[in-house]
Amino acid sequence: MEFHPSMSTLSRKDVAHLARLARLAVTDEELDLYAGQLSAVLDAVAQVQKAPVEDVPPTTHAVPMTNVFREDVARPSLPPEVVLAGAPAAEDGRFRVPRILGRRRDDSRASIAGSASDRGAERGAESRGGMA
C-alpha cells in the first residue's frame, strides 16, 4: 500500500487514495469531511482489536453452508431486449461501454470539474450510443 495511516486515523490523502480504489471521484470538500468523520468511525471500530480472539475462528456467515447444488437443468433467461431496456447505453443488442483502452492519465481519478457540466447532457444520451 502506498498509504500508511497510523492506526485509527485517516488523512485526507488516505481518503483520496481509498476513494480512487473504490472509483469515487470525491470532491475536495468531501475529502475534508470524510477524513474527519472516518477517523472518528475508525476510532470506534478499532475496539475490535481489544477482543480476546486467540484461537477463535472467524465467522464469515451466520449459517455455515458449502456446496449448495441444484439440478443441472437449463432455464429460460430474460430476453436481451428486456435486460438492455434498463441500461444507460446499448448498441446492437449489447451494453455500450466507454473506452476501456488507450490514453491514460497519470491520475486515473476523473476530474471533478467535468462532472457538473455533464449532468444535464447525460440523460439524453440514453441508448443512442453516446453523443459523438
Binding site: 481509498l18 468531501e30 475508525l42 482489536q49 466507454p98
Partner: protein, 508 residues
Amino acid sequence: MTTDLTTLTVPELQAALKDGATAEGITRAFLDRIAAEDEALGAYLHVDPAAAIERAAAIDGAGTAGTGLAGIPVAVKDVVVTEGVPTTSGSKILEGWKPPYDGTVAARLKSAGTVLLGKTNMDEFAMGSSTENSAYRVTRNPWDPERIPGGSSGGSSAAVAAGLAPWAIGTDTGGSIRQPAALTGLVGHKPTYGSVSRYGLIAFSSSLDQAGPMARTVLDAALLHEAIGGHDPLDSTSIDAPVPVLAECARRGAEGDLSGLTVGIVRELGGEGHTDGYEQGVLARVAEAVALLESMGAEVREVSCPAFDLALPAYYLIAPSEASSNLSRFDGVRYGLRVGDDGNRDLDEVMALTREQGFGAEVKRRIILGTYALSSGYYEAYYGQAQKVRTLISRDFSAGFADVDVLVSPTTPTVAFPLGSRVDDPVAMYAADLCTLPASLAGVPAISVPCGLSDDLPVGFQIMAPALADDRCYQVAAALEAAQDAARGSRFLDQLPRRDAAAVGGAA
C-alpha cells in the same frame, strides 16, 4: 359510523372481505389516505394508484378476495425489486430503473394475491437508522413529525403506523426492521438468517441482510412472515426447511400462559453497569414488560453476553466491507445512472463520476471505510478481527440459549430522536443500532414489540431466540401484546389516532 378500513388488523380485513367489503374498496381506502397524508409524511417513494386499483379489481373479479391474503394491500420497501415497478433502494444511482423481474419476496406476495400499494422510502441502500439518508425525501414519525421514523425501513414503519398501509415488508441488516418498528409502535421481526429468500433484495451486506414483516400486531406480522418465508433455490444461502408455523404460535402466545418459559435479560444491553446511552424511560418500560412476562409464568434471570459490547464495532467493519464489494455493481454499465460518457473519458473515469454523483454521503463513507478494512495490511486488524468477534457473539448466544429459551432487551436505547440531530455525527447515528446488532451478527431471529410510551413516544421490547426458533419470538411477543392490550383496553396503535383526534378537539 362506518368502519375505518385503514385501522383494521389483517384478520379483520379478511373478515371484512368475507362480509361484503371488496379488495378495491380496501385498496381505495389506503390510497385515499396516501393521497391526503403522504406529502407530509414521506413514507412512499412510488405509488401507482391506477395499477393498485386494477390489481384489486382483478382479485375481486376472480372471486378469491378474503381467501388467504388475497385482496389485502401491502407496502414493500424499495430495496425489493419489483417487475416493471420503479425500484431505487433509496438511491439516485437507480432513479427510474424498472427491474425486469420480481424478487422472491415480491413474487410470493403477488402469488398470494396481495395488492401492492407502493414502494416505501428508506435510507440509501439500507445504510442508516433514520431514513434521513434517502436520496429522495424525508420521512416523518407519525407520533411526532419532527422526529425520525427509524431506519433504514423508515418508510415502511411510517406507512403502517400512520394507517397508510395495513402492513409492510422491511429488511434488516443491523436492525433496520426492529429499530423503526420500535420507534413507531409496530411489531417488526427479523427472521433467522436464511429463512426468507434474499433473491431480488438489492444487496447491502449479504451475510446479514434479511427481509421480514412490519405490522400493527404480532399476529399480522406472523401471517406476513409465513407468506414470504421458506426455502428458495434461487438464494444459495436459503435454509432448506419447511415454512415455520408462526400465526398459530402467535395465537397460542396471546392466551397468556408462559409457564415453563425461561427468559434471560441481557446485562450488556441496558442492564447494570451498561446503562450509558440508555434513556431511563426506555429502561423503565422494558422492566415493566419483563415483570409482565413473569406474571404470566415465565422464569426470569439475568444473562451476561460480554462479547455484545463489541457488536457495534464488529458490525461497522463487516457491513461496510461487504457493502464496498456489493456496491461495485453500480458501475454505470448495465443499469442506472451513467455520468460523463462524452466519448473522451474512459471507463474508469465514467465509473468514478457516475458513482460520485449517484451515491450519497453515507454510502460513500461506508464504501471508503469498507475499502480500507479490506485492504492488505489492514485486513487482519479490522475485517478479520471483526469476524472473530462475530464468532464470540455467536458463542455468547449459544451459551445463553443453553440456559434460557429467549433473551430480551430494549430494541433501541432511546425513543425516536429529532430529525437532523445525528446526521453530522455518524458514530452517534450508529449507536441507534446498539441492541439490534448482536442478533444480526449471529443470524438469530429477533422481534420488536411495543411495550409502552416514554415521553409520549413508543418504546420497543426485543425478544431474541435461537436460529430457526422464530416461533418463540412470536409466542412471547403475542403474550406481552395481549396482556398490555387487555390492561390498556385497546391496541397499542389505536392510541395514536385517538390522541391526534383529542389534540385537534382540544385546539378547537
